[in-house]
């Protein structure tokens, strides 16, 4: 059933229509426009569908089982996916581990891991942040010591999104305690079934268990599971920060919150209040201009040009606009702003607080907005450090 085609030979419009049709034909209606991240159990069917049709890895080269899309075709794929409200499958293997192994892995690693990512037999999660290494990631302390043919890993990772559903984890670990911060770090692939690993899901403010803490207690990892050279893990990890940085600032969060705000305005009658409509105009223009900068960067990526440090603009504005719209939803809800879960507006149910809760981590993850401002100040505006 796998379709082997040269997608890039199609015109953009032809390709767009094929992708749109595919989502319309195959994507389950009840999973459209999810307010929060979906768990593996809910997304398994869709993972299988994509996998069966050879559509699970749009950006991977065809020789490794991907669709081999050019950057511009990939953007179209994502645009259509978002327009149709397709939820993310657990995709750390697809967008992180796969591309990384294709770029920097060994032949053995590629043969061992890639096929199982494509089928969804193995699901990956990320082990970067630690309780004392958040924005300052390079100060991480989880340690891996070589003992014969194996590394022995001890330490703790945190904020691993949906790690409770994962079979494998990719880790940044310290392999040289005496080297300078960034220089003693290595990149390891670890089977979560290994003895000594404990996963503890953490409930977020929204009440969902979206991420986990992971504890490593003398976990033994075969030496060949290192990606790249020992102590060069920082460089390995940095190579991943390319294309996907575009999606941290995707307008979809703000846009869907705005659509919810308009729904609530109708339910509450505020859509006839001129004072409210002017504030609505303000956030509408904020979202429109967010779309404007997003298109600017995605056109750049679409032409295959590397994205510069100014991409941080997108993350800051995208998430903070989302947060402003979410605030306005709570305000318009009036007393119902206190209701957890669906509140009643006449006969209609409306969940007031979900965008508000979702806005909280958005300005924190992927590099806090404060870090993004540091990046703009020093790397774009060239402001001095002393």
């Amino acid at each position: 059933m796998t379709e082997q085609r040269d997608w890039n030979a199609l015109s953009d419009q032809e390709f767009r229509l094929i992708v749109r049709k595919f989502f319309e034909d195959h994507y389950p209606e009840h999973l459209r426009y999810s307010p929060s991240r979906r768990r593996l159990a809910e997304m398994r069917g869709w993972y299988d569908t994509l996998s069966r049709h050879g559509w699970i890895a749009p950006a991977w080269p065809t020789k490794y089982g991907g669709m081999g899309l050019s950057p511009s075709k990939h953007i179209i794929f994502i645009e259509e996916q978002e327009a149709y409200g397709v939820a993310r499958v657990p995709d750390h293997g697809l967008i992180m581990v796969g591309p990384l192994l294709i770029q920097q892995g060994t032949d053995e690693q590629r043969a061992r891991y890639l096929p199982k990512i494509l089928t969804g037999e193995e699901i990956w999660c990320q082990g970067y942040s630690e309780p004392n290494a958040g924005s300052d990631l390079a100060s991480l302390r989880t340690e891996a010591v070589l003992d014969g043919d194996e590394f022995v890993v001890n330490g703790q990772k945190t904020w691993s999104t949906l790690a409770q559903d994962a079979t494998h984890i990719f880790l940044l670990v310290r392999t040289d305690k005496n080297a300078r911060k960034q220089e003693g770090i290595s990149f390891l692939l670890v089977d979560m079934k290994a003895p000594g690993i404990t996963v503890r899901p953490m409930a977020t403010l929204s009440g969902h268990e979206e991420f986990c803490e992971i504890f490593f207690d003398n976990v033994r990892v075969p030496k060949e599971n290192i990606v790249g050279q020992i102590n060069k893990g920082w460089t390995v990890a940095k190579a991943l920060l390319g294309f996907e940085r575009l999606f941290l600032g995707s307008p979809k969060l703000a846009q869907s919150a705005l659509a919810r705000l308009m729904t609530l305005a109708k339910l509450t009658g505020r859509d006839r209040d001129p004072v409210f409509l002017e504030r609505l105009a303000e956030v509408q223009l904020d979202v429109d201009d967010l779309n404007g900068i997003y298109r600017h960067f995605s056109a750049q990526a679409g032409r295959g040009e590397p994205l510069g440090q100014d991409i941080s603009v997108l993350k800051v504005w995208g998430t903070e606009t989302f947060a402003r719209v979410a605030d306005l939803i709570v305000e318009v809800a009036d007393s119902a702003g206190m209701i957890s879960g669906p509140a009643l507006f006449g006969d209609a149910e409306f969940d007031v607080l979900s965008p508000f809760y979702n806005a909280r981590p958005s300005t924190i993850y992927g590099g806090t907005n404060e870090i993004q401002r540091n990046i703009i100040a020093s790397n774009v505006l060239k402001l001095p450090s002393a």
Binding site: D271, E278, D289, L290, G292, R373, I376, S385, A386
Partner: protein, 372 residues
């Protein structure tokens, strides 16, 4: 296709000369000079900048609005003293649309050559951007028309060679050409924050001859011209924003206090980053406005395009220039430093053709059918 390529080539040349001219010859300090400089205006003409939007049949360049936007940004970044948008872009759209007539063609030709500085007297005491109310009236009289009314905020003060005046006639918006010397015309000058001036124009039984009628039903022409001018004023504001940010960054990189360059303080770094983000949003709003204006199917589309650009650029210009003065500290509040000139220009330009609040209201009306 060839025509398009030719246009693009001309666009490139015009942008390059505007850039070079702004870099080499313009200084923000020109804003301290009292008067409109005919010499600089002539220079703009010799670079072709005054003829960019005029039709080719009267020796204009026939460029599109988007083609001239980068040039306006360049001029704006150095605070061009002369009101280029008011005295060139706005009348270009009106005279360009009336150049089928002999009078329109002659005036447009002279405008392009820099031989004529026209003012457009359209605004009155009560108005909104979407519905510029015309209370000034024109009546037929022997051999011509009689005009009565009062126009406000006419640029460039009394430094014009003639006036385009809008007036209601037979329930339509008519446009007339006045040379400024007519009996019954009183011009009251008033200084603007940026050192320029505007004028109130009082028309008491002003008699104009029949051939001075440019357009007997010019409401759409006027709205189109005002929308285009509003987008161009936004471009000028974006240039100003870039200029003010760049001057402020230079200051942050060099000024030392507590043995450190002040640009190394995170409190200032984050504020500078925020200003940069706003600048990029202005650029995005302007790109979208130009596209939407070119593709507009109706008046509402044009107005909406103008409002999205002017809202964002007006809000940002004021925010950026106030922050710029603050970051410069005491020297920023003196008349000796140029950064304050950016603030004064921002005050003037952001208030002209509808400020941010007016355009937010206008956009709300158009997008959501809100308050009328």
């Amino acid at each position: 296709m060839t025509a398009d390529l030719e246009r693009l080539e001309q666009q490139r040349l015009i942008t390059e000369s505007a850039d070079a001219y702004a870099r080499r010859e313009l200084e923000p300090g020109h804003l301290r000079q009292k008067d409109f400089s005919r010499e600089r205006w002539q220079k703009l003409a010799s670079l072709g900048l005054l003829a960019t939007l005029l039709p080719e049949q009267i020796d204009g360049l026939g460029l599109k609005l988007g083609d001239v936007v980068p040039s306006i940004e360049a001029l704006g970044s150095k605070l061009l003293r002369e009101p280029f948008v008011a005295a060139c872009i706005l009348p270009s759209f009106i005279l360009g649309a009336t150049c089928d007539g002999e009078q329109g063609a002659e005036l447009a030709g002279k405008l392009g050559q820099g031989e004529l500085v026209p003012a457009v007297a359209w605004q009155e005491g009560t108005w909104t951007f979407a519905q510029p109310h015309v209370a000034t009236v024109a009546q037929s009289a022997a051999g011509g028309f009689l005009l009565n009314g009062r126009k406000e905020f006419v640029l460039p003060g009394d430094k014009f060679d003639g006036l385009i005046v809008s007036a209601m006639m037979n329930a339509r918006t008519a446009l007339f050409w006045l040379d400024g010397s007519e009996d019954g015309l009183v011009i009251e000058r008033r200084p603007t924050a940026d050192g320029g001036e505007v004028a109130s124009v009082v028309l008491s039984n002003v008699k104009v001859s029949g051939e001075r009628l440019l357009h007997s039903d010019g409401a759409e022409t006027l709205t189109r011209a005002l929308s285009a001018a509003t987008i161009c004023a936004s471009a000028e504001l974006l240039g100003l924003i870039r200029g003010a940010i760049s001057m402020t960054l230079e200051y942050l990189r060099t000024r030392k206090q507590f043995d450190r360059t002040i640009g190394s303080f995170q409190a200032l770094q984050h504020r500078a980053a925020d200003l940069y983000i706003q600048q990029e949003l202005c650029a995005a709003a302007l790109r979208r406005a130009v596209e939407d204006f070119e593709e507009a199917q109706n008046i509402a589309d044009m107005l909406k395009a103008a409002s999205r650009a002017k809202y964002r650029c007006s809000v940002t210009a004021l925010r950026v220039t106030k922050e710029a003065v603050q970051m410069h500290g005491g020297i920023g509040y003196t008349n000796e430093h140029d950064i304050g000139l950016y603030l004064k220009r921002a005050l003037t330009l952001s208030s002209w053709l509808g400020n941010a609040a007016e355009h937010r209201r206008c956009f709300a009306n158009l997008a959501f059918g809100g308050p009328q």
